[in-house]
Amino acid sequence: MTDPLEDARSPRDRAARQRFVLDDTGFDEVPKKYRRFYRKWGGVNDALARNEVLCPVCKVVIRSTRELRPGDRVYCMPCMSRLVVSVGEGGRLEALVAY
């Protein structure tokens, strides 16, 4: 499994998730087969898509082939952090580190 979405345990899992085709954005800080799953963050004005969440540890955007939902567990390969997706202020998806 190469997708950073490791464990989809959202209570809304019964609803179908939107699928995404990921293109290579030039992110080269992980081995080649994983590169399309990450991209550089453009700062506070960088709007994230429904399949994306920002890693709070290394500030890289994590991208899944599936829509992300609160409760999902994702892996950030550039900094090796395991994260849990949650809803932050304004309804935006955030990631909390699971130590």
Binding site: E29, V30, V57, S81
Partner: protein, 297 residues
Amino acid sequence: MSGFLSAYSIQNWLESCPQGYLEDTQYGHAPGQTEPALVLDNPTLLADTIRTTVQLVVGERCALAASSGLINAAPDHASKAFLATQTLDEARHVEIFTQRLYDLGVKKSELESTLAEHANPNLVKFAEVLLEKVDKGDFIAGVVGQNIVLEGMAFSVFEMLQAAVSGVNPKFANTLSGTIADERRHVGFGENRIGSLIKQHPERKADVEKMQKEMAYHMLATFSTQFAQSGSAMQEGQRMAQAAEGNGAEAPAKWHGADLATATPEEMEGVLSDTVLKEFKVRLGRIGIEYQTPAAP
């Protein structure tokens, strides 16, 4: 103990780093890239660039000593293997910033005297606080000092320098890009390893918080003296960047709200200090350590 490292290996490091973003680079940048004439031909800018680069070498020598010293103190093999790759990362950083000093005209025979002449005494004290913990084999304090405080500071400083030079010095911007990528792994290791260890050893919090406060004080003192020395060079750099912009060069970026084309040294010191301290507070808070506000230098 260190499950976050289960997907990490020397092979992973090889594919990400030397075979990834460092592939086809020489001393961290594309072959043939050189320091721009606006730095090499301007005595004020050249002296300030050498002084700034000296601090990078001093900081990276400290990081090399700390990461290599922590290998034998690490309580598990996965952490030892990670720290071995970090040690090579830090040795590379020492080498590329030292090479930059040579590219700026420092003679190899004068390297150590140049470092001794320009090393900021506050940065040296910052390093001494960390290396004292490492020398005692204190893994928890050593990793917090190295991978959260030192690397957290480096992460922000490198990002600020990269934003400042991105339009006028592609060579140095490329060099910094690779070091920032390395720092992502280093801060990730620091947070994830200590995040679990501090839960097992809550009695260590007070000692670690005291060290963080001391290191943060020396860091702020370093910023204060560096920006105080860089006033005329910053003005000169901004003037030349504006002239270059008129000739089609990329405009200097904004960094955390500061306009790098017009910001004064005092403004930049404030923005950098605030940014690094906020990051410390957030990162330390996530792993259960209460950030301690240092005295104003």
